[in-house]
């Protein structure tokens, strides 16, 4: 059924279609309308679930961990400070191998307070063992939430579905919401092999000595490796069912491309328009959108980018003291290519704290890169130097 949905509502519809049984969440802008929609679904009886209205995000994930350990399909959502508060339990959920799905609406970290988008909140959770998937449209959001449960429950790892604040979370788009019967065929009820069960009284999370701890962690790594293929399969199966699939990476106009923009989230949609513009100018530009970030589709990325002249990685995030985080990741993956096939990798940090990334910005970045004018290794785009900022501040006063 076609509906006009903002990204946040698309999350809620995805969760409803997946028949989540326990939801635990705490309000935070810009995520809040996800859980408002879910509270309404539960109150109206449209979703048979228990909604635990906890007193913090830390408790939201703790309740999800408890419920998932008892075999329920669970959901939570958060942003920025909320995700940071969850951090201890983000590690816990992955270590406990629980198929939890969490939607994070990318929001910049304080201080100063910002409710607007950037990716440092989710990327700070990179090394926790969670899978991470970055969406670029409301349609992709609803489809990805359902896919996420299927993958999570197959490989027993939690998934973070990531959407940009406002550009996606609060922008209305026409979305095809799949029929419940189709989704039910795709996603059977959860039957967790090991769970809290008084008929089979096991212990979960006990003390583990050094002679065994590493094996548990190795199995997380193995599950991530397996998950790459599972994502492909699940995405393919979803495509056969509803006619939409996304791949792990999205390639746009890579034929004969020399300069390629690589990014994640909604800047990729903007980037496509910029690429079209550059092609009209006769510049062979292309784009790659990173959809799945963990596990990292390194082999696929190498295949796509092998032999290209240069890749510009646009990061709406930064690992201070080094590069943007996607930039580091792409660079490290491409190092595996033989030198003659290895593109130059440039980084651009842009759009932190929700600053606009426009078509004009991306076209200018690609143009500069194509002419060899973009500084290596990293350019902070559209940012005032400290002395310029001091002048701007004095004028404002």
């Amino acid at each position: 059924m076609k509906k006009l949905l903002k990204g946040n509502s698309a999350v809620a519809y995805g969760v409803k279609l997946a028949r989540a049984e326990v939801i635990a969440a705490y309000p935070i802008t810009p995520q809040t309308s996800i859980i408002e929609d879910l509270a309404a679904f539960v109150a109206k009886g449209e979703l048979q679930a228990t909604f635990v209205k906890v007193e913090s995000e830390h408790s939201a994930l703790a309740a999800c961990i408890g419920a998932a350990s008892a075999g329920a399909r669970v959901f939570t959502a958060t942003s920025a400070q909320g995700l940071a508060l969850m951090h201890e339990l983000i590690h816990w959920a992955a270590g406990a191998r629980l198929p939890i799905v969490l939607a994070d609406v990318n929001r910049a970290m304080a201080p100063g307070w910002s409710i607007w988008t950037d990716q440092n909140d989710t990327l700070s959770q990179r090394d926790t063992g969670w899978m991470q998937l970055y969406c670029a449209s409301s349609q992709e959001v609803v489809d990805s939430v359902v896919q996420a449960y299927k993958v999570a429950e197959k490989v027993l790892l939690p998934v973070m579905i990531v959407l940009d604040a406002f550009f996606l979370s609060h922008t209305h788009e026409v979305v095809d919401v799949p029929e419940q019967t189709l989704v039910d065929r795709f996603l059977p009820p959860l039957d967790l092999p090991l769970r809290l069960d008084v008929e089979r009284p096991g212990a979960f999370g006990n003390l583990v000595f050094p002679d065994r701890y590493m094996e548990f962690r190795y199995k997380i790594e193995l599950a991530h490796r397996e998950a790459l293929e599972v994502w492909r399969e699940v995405d393919r199966e979803w495509g056969e069912l509803v006619g939409r699939s996304y791949g792990l990476l999205e390639a746009y106009r890579l034929e004969d491309a020399e300069t390629v923009l690589l990014t994640a989230g909604t800047p990729a949609s903007t980037g496509k328009v910029a690429v079209d513009q550059l092609r009209q100018e006769g510049i062979p530009a292309g784009l790659v959108r990173l959809r799945l970030f963990r596990p990292f589709p390194a082999a696929e990325l190498e295949r796509l980018l092998s032999g290209l002249r240069r890749v510009v990685v646009l990061d709406r995030n930064c690992s201070y003291g080094h590069h943007g985080i996607f930039h580091q990741e792409v660079k490290s993956a491409l190092y595996e290519l033989p030198e003659r096939r290895r593109p130059q990798v440039l980084g651009v940090v842009a759009g932190l704290g929700g600053r606009d990334i426009t078509v004009a910005d991306l076209a200018a970045i690609l143009r500069q890169a194509h002419r060899g004018e973009l500084a290596a290794p990293v350019t902070w785009w559209n940012v005032l130097q400290p002395e310029e900022e001091a002048v701007a501040l004095a004028v404002a006063k």
Partner: protein
């Protein structure tokens, strides 16, 4: 104490036979937490799921792949015992397993301090869980550091002499009772029948139940292992730790009238109190008297109040 001779005779104890604490657990000799768990599972039986945050019991249950209990256990993060239990309850409810009890079993640090927020949240929502705080009055698992459950004047490694703890113990039961939960109570390992009865009563009530269990800790209290039950009994009989229960934050019942032995009988068996001056002991004596006056006033208040109003059926309280 002679008036209580029959109460203290183990041959006169009437307790369920079932044993769900198995041999091979890792508790120290004389550990009150092990005895407490043994009694708790006698009371609650095999249809129980136990939630254990960071605390001594996170070790006592045994390292992977061992498991000392005959019931399922979920170990959780330090500050999450109550809300993790609530999550399990939500899952069980969705699966039609309201017959299974969910027991959160946390130490004083995980209850009075770091777990307090999630505990307050869970009981405010009146989650259908039984929460037992087994209280040895300090962070014993990390090597005896003060918590807000540590009593006035006690030595710990972070309240060394002469800087022993200046503040009194936080009154956790009163705080929980003020959430107006259906059931809050104190209990002692030296009064096993009382503890078992309270757990069974808790199990019969829908909603949030809280039991504050006083336990001995030879390693942390600097006491003899063989005296663990005696010291727990003296905590009650000197009036240091009253046994009582509170229903809906209002109805107070004192479960055992102590003989009010002088508190020195209790203090002198524990090295953590060895340094106390006569003035400090006199303050403890006066505090016990004052706390009992306060407790009896609460009993009288509960008796003088009418039944609280009942919300309309369209908004039923979960209890």
């Amino acid at each position: 104490m002679s008036t209580n001779a029959t109460l203290y005779d183990p041959k006169n104890l009437h307790l369920p036979d079932q044993e769900l604490l198995r041999s091979g657990h890792l508790a120290c000799p004389g550990c009150g937490a092990a005895l407490g768990m043994r009694l708790a599972l006698k009371a609650l039986g095999p249809k129980t799921i136990v939630v254990i945050p960071a605390c001594c019991w996170a070790v006592i249950n045994g390292p992977y792949p061992f498991h000392a209990l005959g019931v399922p256990v979920l170990q959780v993060a330090f500050e999450t015992a109550a809300v993790s239990a609530a999550g399990i309850r939500a899952a069980l409810h969705m699966k039609g397993r309201d017959d299974v009890a969910v027991l959160a079993w946390a130490g004083d640090g995980g209850t009075f301090d770091i777990g307090f927020q999630s505990l307050s949240g869970a009981v405010e929502r009146n989650e259908d869980i039984i929460y037992v705080c087994y209280d040895n009055e300090a962070y014993m698992n990390t090597g005896i550091q003060r918590s807000s459950a540590t009593p006035f004047g006690a030595w710990t490694t972070t309240t060394p002499e002469p800087d022993t703890k200046p503040e009194p113990k936080k009154n956790i039961v009163e705080i929980l009772a003020e959430h107006r939960i259906p059931y809050a109570a104190t209990a002692s390992i030296a009064f096993p029948e009382d503890f078992v009865r309270k757990l069974q009563k808790a199990r019969s009530i829908r909603g949030a139940k809280f039991i504050h269990l006083w336990i001995s800790c030879p390693a942390g209290h600097k006491s003899e292992e063989r005296l663990s039950v005696k010291i727990a009994r003296l905590a009650v009989e000197t009036g240091v730790f009253p046994l009582y229960e509170v229903e809906h934050g209002t109805r107070y019942t004192i479960n055992h009238e102590p003989s009010f032995l002088d508190v020195t009988h209790y203090l002198e068996l524990q090295g953590r109190f060895r340094h106390l001056t006569p003035e400090q002991i006199e303050f403890i004596r006066q505090s016990i008297r004052w706390e009992w006056q306060r407790l009896r006033a609460k009993v009288a208040m509960g008796e003088s109040l009418p039944e609280p109003p009942v919300p309309p059926a369209s908004h039923p309280r979960p209890s």
